[in-house]
Amino acid sequence: MHKQSNPLQIYLDHGATTPVRTEVIDAMLPYWTDVYGNPSSVHRFGQLARKGLQYARTTIAELINCRTNEIIFVGCGSESDNLALRGVMWAARKFGIGNHLITSAIEHKAVLDTASQLRDLAGFDVSILPVDEFGQISLDDLTSSIRPDTVLISIMAANNEIGTVQPIEEIGAIAQERGVLFHTDAIQAAAMLDWDLNRMPFDLVSMAPHKFYGPKGIGILYARQDIELISALTGGGQENGRRAGTENVAFAVGAAVALRLALEERQENTIHYQALKNQLIDGIIESFSDDCRLTGHPTNRLPNNASFSFKNISGNDLIFHLDVAGISASSGSACLTGDPEPSRVLKAIGLSDEWTKGGLRLTVGKQNNEDQIEYILKVLPDIVNRLRQIKVQIA
């Protein structure tokens, strides 16, 4: 589309989204012009559509080992987070069984802003656990913040910006022991975990298929069947009364196929991603001295996430210059209107002001290879140096 003299277009922002794979597109196609009925209709068109929806739901349930009625289709990953938090807390309010929510300082805004709104507009109590320099919460902090009126703990499986993986099985075990529900935003991690919800102590899990080569415009919420959820979207009673709206059968089927393929390929993808991620991390850390640092946990991190911060550099400028050089990446403090804020996550892990605007996130995917990484390693130091030069020259 863009006419540029640089023909290279290296996509390194798989944490933002991924291309839809052809198997998924093929699986979705019939549902637009052939099987187009409304799944709620009595007639055969409806029945066939319902069957497609059923297939999608069953497939996903089998893949993550839960019951079919525990899968709720929603409009996006953020909606899944919203439904988990609001659904549970309002139900607790309705039954008078508690008022307190615990979450962490580095959750996605879909969790944190929802929590803030619950606190500010509806009088729920919210505790926000701090994180250490790697972005992990302390299990002791968690345990001591659980109160008799705690209803829900929400801690993400892995952080989108810095890639750090949280000890969600331990967190789930603590929650279980104390009779508190546990929700995990697994949007970044869904394709990387070995799912077994029969064994894993999770009550609610959020996923977004567009992160694993499925379509945008659909999200998944797993909710253990005995959990009461007050729905945010009311009306036609779809999704067992938990989320109204004519079901997007095509996308549900696409989501199921995407998840199936992602989990089938999980091990080989993980190996592929780790190699490229390590090549990136080693190469970048070596090229820079103490004006660049790895952010997030060095080993306990998503296999595809290499994130850094550059001292006294604007992450926004960096990704702009990188894009012109043919490398598409992201930064925790980028902004389409040129008004970047310091990254909340980098502040939470204790970085000072000189670092918090300089984030760079590189997330590899299936389409990336060693040669592309080599190119980035060659080009990145140049770009950072040039940006530093500009600062020096205009000072």
């Binding site: 863009h2 006419k3 400028d317 210059h321 902004c335 209107t337 970047p340």
Partner: protein, 377 residues
């Protein structure tokens, strides 16, 4: 680097254009949009960049935007970029713009000057900061929607007035040197404003019918009196108004509210028209005089830039503009040490204001200029 040419239409269809990268400074307005469109039509490798400049801080729950960097303007610029099929980025320039343009504007008013912030912006922000970014991106040129022309001659680059004399912006571009002129393109300088609007329609640009404002870009509402009151309140104390002979004839509201040559709104009545002649910020006094007393025959310019690189070694004859909208007045200019110049006018000129630009022309060429100093030698 630039193709030598005598044809005033600067952008020629040229096979080599596609290997040349140009960063276009886009504002969402008609001029910069058409500039981008012309470059794309001539097959350059074009990248659109909009600078996010300083906006006044939020008051209450409304984020106050300046006239220029509103989300709407940005959306317009982005739409134009999409239409032209070029990438579009926003460069955060807020702090730098505040430090190099806004703060000096405030400080200037506090010391009794009337700065022209567009000159500072072109000197520091557009043709230094942005130019450096453009070059760092591998661009060969930076293009803007300014009305001006550059020509390449055996003696070097020349800055010429735009074809449309009414829109000519060479005045604020007098800060450019040979280095910058080798690296800038002003696509719309060869067209009249009417032609530019037609081009916008022809190119199908969504901003063809936009109106343009002439106010300072970083003001939310064009009201610089309010801006000064809010940002330099301490220096805007009432004080005495006196004549050149020392008689006190009234009170002023704060020196920053007045400009040299101002006649209206002085609140005095002495039987003849009185004009602001001078400000004395040290004593907070406003000095009025007759029209003759408010006219001077000479000025000293400082921070003088000569387009050719070096100043003339002997006094030269030229025409001078003492304000963006002033008429050209004949004068003799002598280059002095320390990047200064003395300008002696043929006839007294009314309203010479320290802080404004004094820009020198010979025919179509802008040959340089500087900032009018608060001293007369």
């Amino acid at each position: 680097m630039r193709q030598p040419h005598q044809n005033p239409r600067a952008i020629l269809a040229n096979e080599e254009n596609s290997t040349r990268r140009v960063v276009v400074a886009m504002s969402g307005g008609v001029d910069s949009s058409v500039a981008a469109g012309l470059l794309v039509a001539q097959d350059f490798d074009v990248i659109g960049v909009m600078m996010r400049l300083y906006s006044e801080p939020s008051q209450g729950s409304e984020t106050k935007h300046n006239r220029c960097c509103t989300p709407d303007q940005m959306a317009d610029a982005r739409r134009v970029a999409n239409q032209l099929n070029i990438p579009f980025y926003v460069l955060d320039t807020q702090e730098f713009f505040f430090n190099t343009v806004v703060q000096p504007f405030i400080d200037g008013h506090v010391s009794g000057l009337t700065p022209n912030p567009c000159i500072a912006c072109n000197r520091s922000v557009r043709f230094d900061f942005l130019l450096k970014h453009a070059l760092a991106l591998g661009a060969d040129y930076l293009a803007t929607g300014h009305y001006a022309r550059v020509s390449d001659t055996a003696e070097g680059y020349q800055l010429k007035k735009a074809i449309d004399g009414d829109k000519d912006q060479s005045y604020v571009l007098h800060v450019l040197g040979q280095y910058e002129l080798a690296r800038v393109i002003f696509p719309v300088g060869d067209y009249t404003k009417t032609e530019v609007r037609e081009l916008a329609s022809q190119l199908g640009l969504p901003v063809a019918l936009k109106s343009e404002s002439m106010d300072l870009c970083f003001l939310a509402d064009g009201n610089y009196h309010r801006f000064l009151v809010e940002n330099a309140a301490g220096s805007l104390q009432p004080g005495p108004i006196i004549t050149l002979t020392g008689s006190e004839i009234g009170q002023h509201r704060g020196l920053g509210h007045y400009t040299i040559g101002q006649r209206k709104g002085l609140g005095v009545s002495v039987g003849q028209p009185m004009f602001v002649v001078k400000k004395d910020p040290a004593n907070n006094i406003l000095i009025l005089g007759t029209r003759e007393e408010a006219s001077k025959k000479r000025l000293i310019a400082q921070r003088v830039n000569w387009i050719a690189g070096n100043g003339p070694t002997a006094p030269i004859m030229a025409e001078v503009k003492i304000r963006y909208r002033a008429n050209l007045v004949p004068a003799i200019i002598t280059a002095l040490d320390d990047n200064k110049a003395r300008v002696v006018f043929e006839k007294s000129v009314f309203g010479i204001t320290a802080g404004q630009g004094a820009v020198f022309y010979q025919g179509e060429n802008c040959i340089g200029g500087g900032i009018i100093a608060d001293e007369v030698i």
